[in-house]
Symmetry: C2
Subunit: 420 residues, 2 copies
Amino acid sequence: MARMNAFYAQSGGVTAVINASAAGVIETAREHKDRIGKVYAGRDGILGALHENLIDTSKESRKTIEALCHTPGGAFGSCRHKLKGLDESRHEYERLIEVFRAHNIGYFFYNGGGDSADTCLKVSQLSEKMGFPIQAIHVPKTVDNDLPITDTCPGFGSVAKYTAVCAREAGLDVASMYSTSTRVFVMEVMGRHAGWIAASSALAAEQKDDPPHVILLPEVPLDQQAFLERVQKTVERIGYCVVVVSEGARYPDGTVIADAGTTDAFGHKQLGGVAPIIAQMIKDQLGYKYHWSVADYLQRSARHLVSATDLEQAYAVGRKAVEYALAGKNAVMPAIVRRNTQKYSWTIEEAPLNKVANVEKKMPKKFISKDGLNITPSAREYLAPLIRGEAPPPYRNGLPQIARPKLVAVPKKLNTEFKF
Amino acid sequence: MARMNAFYAQSGGVTAVINASAAGVIETAREHKDRIGKVYAGRDGILGALHENLIDTSKESRKTIEALCHTPGGAFGSCRHKLKGLDESRHEYERLIEVFRAHNIGYFFYNGGGDSADTCLKVSQLSEKMGFPIQAIHVPKTVDNDLPITDTCPGFGSVAKYTAVCAREAGLDVASMYSTSTRVFVMEVMGRHAGWIAASSALAAEQKDDPPHVILLPEVPLDQQAFLERVQKTVERIGYCVVVVSEGARYPDGTVIADAGTTDAFGHKQLGGVAPIIAQMIKDQLGYKYHWSVADYLQRSARHLVSATDLEQAYAVGRKAVEYALAGKNAVMPAIVRRNTQKYSWTIEEAPLNKVANVEKKMPKKFISKDGLNITPSAREYLAPLIRGEAPPPYRNGLPQIARPKLVAVPKKLNTEFKF
């Protein structure tokens, strides 16, 4: 069997642990030099393949690859580019084949979320539909936790931990100030369509009346009256209220609150973010002094606060992806399977990619409390193990140390520029 | 000498390490039971004294007091209440004396920033001006780092570290996405009048072109043209740009940018925060896709990421304050004195409170680069040691553990309600 090279790329929004998956892929491939030649990383995801911008990861030292495990962001660059269907955009696929053939690539590892799984699925069909032999394995990644089949998505556990820790810490801040200052703190977190991240903040609450007190999920249309009443009652009872809101929280008519805020009734642009809108709503209706936060990229890049469980899973799916490739598989994704929740244990099993692509896993009803403003005990049970364990990066001079890969370009073999 | 009780209170915005100062005061007082009776904490700062809302810290276990060292926020509650002058508001001082006398309080420890130093100074004058013997010692605290005399302020080093770490981490995120997505990331940090926190983000940059690339300080009026040019050149050269902006950044006419944003030309309220305004400015003028973050309370409550140096200093000033009291001092503050920067060492010396109160230490000119958009090597030299060392809290179930003080109220001895 000829020794083929592998292509690996990162796709979509990056996470604090996606580079650990890269390390899992690269280190495992290096252990099988008899079967896999070099691992070429795509610069900026699939675009790296289309533009023949490949990075030769064999030029990176063992230490640098190890250091990827404590480096947030996407070391090789990511992109938001979804391949269209074969019929619509045949020249993209022809180009991929041209580049893969030129560089002797037989394995395709794509590290991303739902849209990326779709791209990976399309690449996996190159053998069947266009006669080019390639094995495509999807490596799951998304802070949104919205991939189906897998119990959780690498990247999510760390953001979940970040969110719960921040809700606890900022909650203590508000608790000490409310007598003369801030009564309500609104903390916005990521999650455009699914409320998993916001839901995780609930783990911060271990005792009655611990923050957060209200959680607004994209799955539950905002009942403004009920929400404001809850905020008011919380303030009246304990003096303050911490609200966690998903960026995708929406009005009953389906409008995303943050989007609605971008243009006011007079056509003037507003500045985005749902937290300030919710805070202003509370101020206008209840008169409470507020503060709000929008952590944005801070939350998904917070390598300093990852969940050790999540980090381990991120590495493991990278490793398993290569093992699947070596076993001759195509169009699959390593999925995390929960064996036991109480004494948490998990394993990895293969999921068919056509069941993963383009399916969005939202919070199930049984995870959302009846009033729609918090989560249920079964949601807590599901979420709790995912944030466990700490895995701080090495520090020097007070700062987390990061990999500084050389990113050596693979010499181009084609004379053609790719045009979309 | 009669054994007097002590009053301790927290004032102003809280920090990730102010409770370590509380632990320093309480533990040191407990070591001197022959001289100091009980430590009564004011509930919600000086208001606790005025309303006779005192917490008996002797009811807290040794373990709980120790745990304060890893608990953010203000365990006893804080407030924003500045005593007026004696002439203006004599009844407030008379009330303080009444409460102190009723509870046999002879020591007053006030843990706060510049405004609180002023309150502490006024209390220190009760002996001289109103014939009531009390020793008032100010315990420095403020994330803003704007107290004079002391080399740094407990609370600041930790926010500085948080800011530098986040700039590095989020910078890596943007660096991996810019080819198809976000080009500019704007990160807002605290600092209404002084840019120390924003300045600290520069420590994240260890190599040429490392983020952050531009820093906007309150000390430097925004030169919009020069700023936008710098952003554009940075994006053109390296593909992306990370901007850190102080909440107090201002226009040349002195208007705080965030305030200017609160009402538009048509009188419509905007939603606050300088980051979205700067981001929108960049979008409008340069067309770059942006993201922005406003960490708000998250930054100053981030106990999970404190500077070990800062934590140690916070505890030390609490301890020293009690030692000053035992030495018979009044109207002083333990100030941190830098002995050596290269091999960082520090000590504590006493500063007269009348030189501390109401003086705001801004960034000196020599710390700001000529173009006004970054800091100088001497600023880096000053800042670098302050963020060193990690001191993570204990974790359980993936969450930082916190003190849960009982906060037992001291029985009231007065029958009177205090009215302002």
